[in-house]
């Protein structure tokens, strides 16, 4: 019988009513008195020297308030990078400056050059057209490998080359890995591209800066996943505004998927400009601007090799990856291909020796940073494609080869520096085989053949690392931030509760799920609990939402704070009931004295805390409000097994997904309805990557896919119904709720399943194609069939 409240129940989302009735309050819905609008004049060339910017005509255009260029930002800091990677030789990465508005050079199409502030957005756009811009175009570097040629044009003249870093992991393992390859009975090699993607939350980015001269305070309303991170980075590193004079508000945010983690130039600009002109300044991105200014995702070029012994046991893995950084280092860019990618290269397998090399490269393209999964999809894709290719070369069943090499003992220390606390990969594989009806596949294949279609089955596993932590470890790895989170549980006099959390909800449903946890702990109705999030002036210093961390990290902080509240409430109850504190029990919202019929209600205790007439004032303070900061001891490790069945039309190359199943182990689950929704969305993004999406640059650095006309987003008729299951449960061993995180799994687990299925379909049609790079468009598949 499913629960109807508390942890494990699926109450309907309380945030839905406002979204369903058009009453959401997104950043673009905020309009302030006296507001001005900014339009950014952006570079239309990928690389060039700014010879001159003539704003004189534009300044006299109707409604223009002020025009800013890079020169106005003398003495203002650049956009900081939050992670410093150390290379194979112990040297820090090359770290170029990132000005708010371009100075001297433009480095990618979309690089902002000038900002026109006007009374209306139309006037700002009109004036932009009157700016005289003289840019001497330089040859651009787009391809990562040629960017590293000795004579390649340099994106940043002050750097020695376009190489950001050359990272080896684990460097000490390299010789042993090479030796294992020499002894291998079989070596499988795969070269592939992990296609560049654009996150594309449906709400484009928006920023409104509002300076209040009377108290010298600035407020930034912004579409962010982490308002406190923006406040810290922008206040301390860019504009020099102390935290107590800077408020960052992220109200309802229309999706993030990673691309709204980062601190962007436009946020710093509107905050800076509002202080200059003493009026609010608003920027709303168009979709085309989003394509050329939101950080992109993925964009790896990889060679991966697997060494197997004569019994098909995995002996070693070796990878060489080029990772595109784009023109500047976005906030967490250096960490994605390294610590979020190399550490996951063991996957679900007990491969004893692993060596990962990553060369991060600057190019004249939009910066690349974390996108749903961030490094882990790249690791999973190459590994699971490789294992599939190995099975095909060895003529063994791909599921059996995986099972043979699964990690089965936990905790398990991988050769790539992480320790999986728990998991059961056999169980998720069993479950996947069951819900997918793998045994019925051959019959379905025959049915497809009868229609002239080639049917293929692709399976894969994944492991991911969520809730990045602990702070002292990530500090050693180069993080320039802590990765804890925080929550304040404020109990009101009548017993209702407000929980201020550092996590930010932009679709995840925290307003529903977090109260489920508190209500369960205290035994009161969920309607008595609300969360407050997204406003740095109201919430404790938490790090926001990304990396599937909200419940595992911030939820843990909330549990710790609630435990403190309960401890204090029991003291008060002991006083009211004239009993020993040790004998007080809290159940169903009532305090009772063990072994007696004496009890008092939750509300009696909370009222006593705020009206402390009969109260042990000598022992405890009045009030009932506690804060906790939680720094996790380890990552969490969700895992799962995915399967996809496709039909390929051999005449056209068109791929249709006929069946898709995901069996995940997320540990304990607070709200199954929401967890399943997260998996659905992740799978659709993974299918998008596998079949449809690609950010494409031409050789001159022109972005050729900068609208929905050219960048194919998955639509309702591109995807099937997914069969999802999270009944396999090995709870996380080191956080209080035993939860692991579910936000990214779908996007990590699905691309290899789709591609493996297409390769299998082609094989069933007699075409043994080793690999096709994503996206598997009809053209690419048709070419593979006909070559």
């Amino acid at each position: 019988m499913p629960k109807d409240h508390g942890i494990g129940a699926s109450p309907k989302r309380r945030e839905d009513v406002r979204f369903l009735t058009g009453k959401g309050q997104y950043t673009d819905d905020i309009n302030l008195h006296g507001q001005t609008y900014v339009h950014f004049l952006r570079s239309d060339v990928a690389h060039g020297i700014i010879k001159s910017i003539d704003t004189s005509d534009a300044e006299n255009m109707p409604g223009v308030v002020r025009i800013f260029t890079g020169a106005d930002f003398e003495g203002v800091g650049g956009l900081p990078c939050g992670w410093q990677v150390t290379d194979r030789h112990g040297q820090p990465m090359q770290e170029p400056g990132h000005p708010v508005l371009a100075r001297g050079k433009v480095r990618h199409v979309g690089d902002p050059i000038a900002a026109i502030v006007a009374e209306t957005k139309e006037q700002a756009r009109d004036a932009a057209e009157a700016i005289g811009l003289d840019i001497e175009e330089l040859p651009a570097v787009v391809d990562m490998v040629s960017a590293l040629a000795p004579d390649a044009p340099k994106v940043h003249d002050e750097l020695t080359s376009n190489l950001c870093y050359d990272w080896g992991f684990v460097e000490e393992n390299k010789a042993a890995v090479d030796e294992a390859f020499e002894k291998a009975a079989h070596v499988t090699t795969l070269e592939l591209i992990n296609n560049r993607l654009v996150a594309n939350p449906m709400e484009p980015r928006v920023a409104v800066g509002d300076y209040n001269q009377a108290n010298d305070e600035s407020t930034l309303y912004t579409t962010s996943q982490n308002p406190h991170v923006i406040r810290l980075l922008m206040g301390a590193f860019v504009l020099g505004i102390p935290e107590h004079k800077l408020r960052v508000v992220a109200p309802d945010v229309g999706g993030g998927f990673g691309t709204k983690i980062f601190h962007y130039a436009e946020e710093a600009f509107v905050t800076f400009a509002s202080r200059q002109i003493r009026r609010p300044v608003k920027w709303t991105s168009t979709r085309s601007e989003a394509f050329m200014s939101d950080a992109h995702g993925r964009d790896h070029k990889t060679k991966i090799e697997l060494a197997l012994d004569a019994d098909n046991n995995f002996m070693a893995i070796r990878t060489d990856t080029y990772a595109n950084m784009g023109a500047y280092l976005s906030t967490f860019a250096p960490s994605v291909p390294t610590w979020l990618h190399g550490t996951l290269m063991a996957g679900n397998y007990k491969t004893p020796l692993i060596y990962v090399n990553v060369k991060a490269v600057f190019t004249n393209t939009v910066p690349v940073d974390a996108y749903r999964g961030a490094g882990r999809p790249e690791a999973t894709f190459q590994l699971e494609r490789l294992v599939d290719k190995a099975a095909r070369e060895l003529g063994v069943d791909p599921i059996a080869l995986r099972r043979q090499n699964f990690i089965t003992q936990f905790p398990y220390a991988t050769p790539v520096a992480v320790e999986y606390d728990t998991g059961d990969y056999i169980a998720t594989m069993d479950r996947m085989e069951e819900i997918m009806d793998i045994s019925g596949f051959e019959a379905r294949r025959k049915a497809s053949e009868a229609k002239g279609k080639w049917r293929g089955l692709g399976v894969n596993c994944y492991i991911e690392a969520c809730g990045i932590a602990p702070s002292n470890l990530v500090g050693q790895l180069g993080a320039r931030a802590g990765l804890y989170d925080a929550a304040t549980v404020r109990v009101n006099a009548t017993g209702s509760i407000s929980v201020m959390v550092g996590a930010h909800s932009h679709g995840q449903g925290h307003e529903t799920t977090f109260p489920q946890v508190i209500a369960e702990m205290i035994g009161i109705d969920e309607s008595q609990v609300d969360i407050v999030h997204g406003d740095s002036s109201k919430i404790p210093f938490g790090m926001g939402t990304y990396g599937s961390r909200s419940l595992a990290v911030c939820g843990s902080a909330m549990v710790r704070a609630a435990e403190k509240v309960i401890r204090k409430a029991k003291k008060i109850a002991a006083h009211l009931l004239e009993a020993s504190e040790a004998d007080i029990e809290l159940k169903d919202g009532k305090f009772s004295v063990a072994g007696t019929d004496k009890e008092c209600a939750w509300g009696d205790v909370t009222l006593a805390a705020y009206v402390p007439h009969n109260y042990p004032l000598e022992d405890i303070e009045p009030g009932l409000e506690e804060t906790a900061f939680y720094d996790p001891a380890n990552f969490t490790y969700p895992s799962g097994a995915y399967a996809c069945e496709v039909e390929v039309d051999p005449e056209t190359g068109k791929v249709t997904i006929e069946k898709f199943a995901a069996a995940d182990d997320f540990g304990n689950v607070v709200n199954p309805m929401i967890v399943e929704g997260q998996v659905h969305g992740g799978i659709a993004q993974g299918i998008g990557q596998a079949l449809l999406e690609a950010a494409v640059y031409d050789e001159n650095g022109q972005l050729q896919s900068a609208s929905y006309m050219d960048y194919a987003m998955p639509r309702a008729d591109d995807v099937p119904f997914y069969i999802v299951d999270h009944s396999c449960c090995t709870p996380c061993t080191h956080n209080p709720l035993g939860v692991k995180g579910c936000g990214e799994a779908g996007a990590i687990g699905s691309p290899p399943a789709v591609v493996n299925a297409v390769i299998d379909a082609l094989a069933s049609g007699g075409k043994n194609v080793p690999h096709i790079d994503m996206p598997l468009t009809p053209h690419r598949v048709w070419k593979a069939i006909n070559q």
Binding site: E15, T21, N31, G254, M673, R715
Partner: protein, 164 residues
């Protein structure tokens, strides 16, 4: 002001009259002139459907229509379909089946679905997917949106039968 045009609109049952530049897009009229912020802007090129409204009985993407083209029209936005205390069957179904996450595409999605069910009261799953393909959602993977619309169709049909 001579280049401004005199426009009349009826939005969600309420009449509006104003002067607007010929280049003013309907979505800005709704959002910024009339403060009807349910319809959202996702792409400004008619591709994503976040701005979908109903104009004279047809689904229209308000980001690529000049308000001058809508002069004299009857317009319904998500606000006109139902509010918090009188939600439309589709709004209830989206809530029941978790057909939304961040909520940004939702007003356009539901406004479009309401016309889809008028055009085809008994759609198959495939017809729902095809009929909604002009509206992009990046969060839900569409599964629960399709379920919500099919559930709303059943409910509307049952209510119709009961009334007959």
């Amino acid at each position: 002001m001579s280049n401004k045009m005199h426009i009349k609109l009826n939005v969600n049952g309420e009449g509006h009259e104003f002067l607007a530049e010929p280049r003013e897009l309907l979505i800005y009229t709704l959002r910024e002139r009339l403060n009807i912020t349910g319809p959202h802007i996702g792409c400004e090129t008619s591709h994503c459907g976040a701005c979908t409204v109903t104009i004279n009985g047809k689904s229209v993407k308000a980001c690529t229509m000049f308000v001058a083209q809508a002069d004299g029209a009857d317009i319904t936005t998500i606000e006109g379909l139902g509010g918090p205390d009188n939600m439309h069957v589709l709004q209830e179904a989206f809530r029941e089946h978790h057909g939304l996450q961040c909520g940004y595409c939702t007003p356009g999605m539901i406004t479009r679905a309401s016309k889809l069910l008028e055009e085809n009261p008994n759609p198959t799953e495939e017809e729902v997917r095809f009929g909604m393909a002009g509206n992009i959602c990046r969060c839900t993977g569409y599964q629960n949106i399709v379920k919500s619309i099919l559930a709303a169709a059943s409910e509307l049909n049952a209510a119709k039968e009961a009334a007959e």
